[in-house]
Amino acid sequence: EDNVSIGNEHVSVNFDENGFMSSITVHGETHSLKQNFLYYDGALGNNEEFRNRSSGAYIFRPNGTEKAVTDVVEIQVVKSDVVQEVHQIFNEWISQVIRVYAGQEHVELEWLVGPIPIDDGVGKEIISRFESDIKSDGAFWTDSNGREMLRRVRNYRETWNLDLVEPVSGNYYPVTAKIAIEDDQSRLAVLNDRAQGGSSLVDGQLELMVHRRLLRDDAFGVGEALNETQYGAGLVARGKHWLFFGSSQKDVSPTLQAKERFLQNKVLLPSWPFVNSADNLLTLDDF
């Protein structure tokens, strides 16, 4: 009956009465931080017209604004000394585990999306969106193939005057390792385990596209709709995001950015577990 919270001595994640992540507490300070899954309907266009093409493998063209997948999330909480987890079920095809390991300063989100339903004849592109109280003033940072972070400004290009006719996809950038926002006080960074599209469409927000299923070819060359199936159903994808929230002050040592960089190395080059059961003949003495 109480609101749920998981965490450790460094970071706690708090959930609201509907099961959504609602805030994060870092070193005693609590900040609003919501997370939800939403989707864009893929545009169905006339590929003969340049500005009216379908959303497909090469291009992301949402048809209208995003929609939340649910208002209420079913959750299960597991707490132990090693790890604390909240298992969320958003609907029949989206679920997530949010976890905090003992001693770690980041939050891990393991999402599972699919098979994306297409019974309504509409392709869908699914995003995970984070909403914070950070006053990011239109700016966000995305990595360049895991190397330096590049500053992006919403609805702006550095070298020409932009007339943006695609307000969502025109602000999407490739994210292969990290996307971040910050203001004078706080910083939010999300690391990913695979290349995804990402953006900050509203100040304080970050979003990453985790899965897509589209029913039309975009006429850019592949010649197929991005409608992958396995065992007769749409593809299921499972992956991880790692979230860091903390001070953006540069005189803190080590800075949050330094911690993010170490975590990036660890999650992208993790230890390799090898197992050996030897048909149950391995005794402790053998070990």
Binding site: V78, S80, S95
Partner: protein, 177 residues
């Protein structure tokens, strides 16, 4: 060398922008997956040989190391069917690592010992129903055994002994709401 080159060759092919972004035709995507699988399998022979030499195990098939190729759906034929498993963590980084390990297992009580015979704190976490119910998942694992690798040395390894015990401890730290 031929085994390693098999994966090197595949990784060369995977530099194509279609493989990076996923804009290849479906039959090409399937072929890429096949090539990667064959590259992995070739390299795994080298890994197995190296680990057998390091650990002093005989290469008679009984003491073979493997990796859990279906860990991404919380399934692993080795860990979920064994009463005793040796887990070797290899750290590819140039500095020490303390990654957490998640091993798919059946419900029960497990102990984890490090290379000095000391008990390592561990816990059993249920696998979400959305994963267990995946239609193509063929696994009896219902839980994941979670423990932390302790300062695995740079470009080095540590081993752990995981054993399943008879009965479940009633004083389990797990709490569910």
């Amino acid at each position: 060398e031929a085994h390693l080159t098999a994966l090197r060759d595949v990784m060369g092919v995977m530099q194509h922008h279609d493989a990076i972004t996923g804009t290849e035709k479906q039959h090409v995507a399937d072929d890429y997956a096949r090539m990667l699988y064959e590259g992995f399998e070739a390299c795994s022979a080298n890994i197995r040989s190296v680990l057998n030499q390091l650990s002093g195990y005989r290469e008679d098939g009984k003491f073979d190391w493997s990796y859990c190729k279906q860990a991404n759906i919380s399934a692993c034929a080795t860990t979920e069917n064994a009463d005793n498993t040796v887990v070797l963590l290899y750290n590819p980084l140039g500095y020490g690592s303390n990654d957490y390990v998640r091993l798919p297992v059946k419900d029960g009580q497990y102990s984890v010992l490090n290379d000095r015979g000391q008990t390592v704190p561990s816990t059993l976490v249920p696998i979400p129903s959305s994963v267990i119910d995946l239609p193509f998942r063929e696994s009896e694992a219902t839980h994941e055994l979670v423990f932390q690798g302790e300062q695995v040395p740079p470009v080095g390894y540590k081993t752990y002994y995981v054993s399943k015990e008879e009965s479940r401890d009633s004083s389990s730290t797990e709490m569910r709401q």
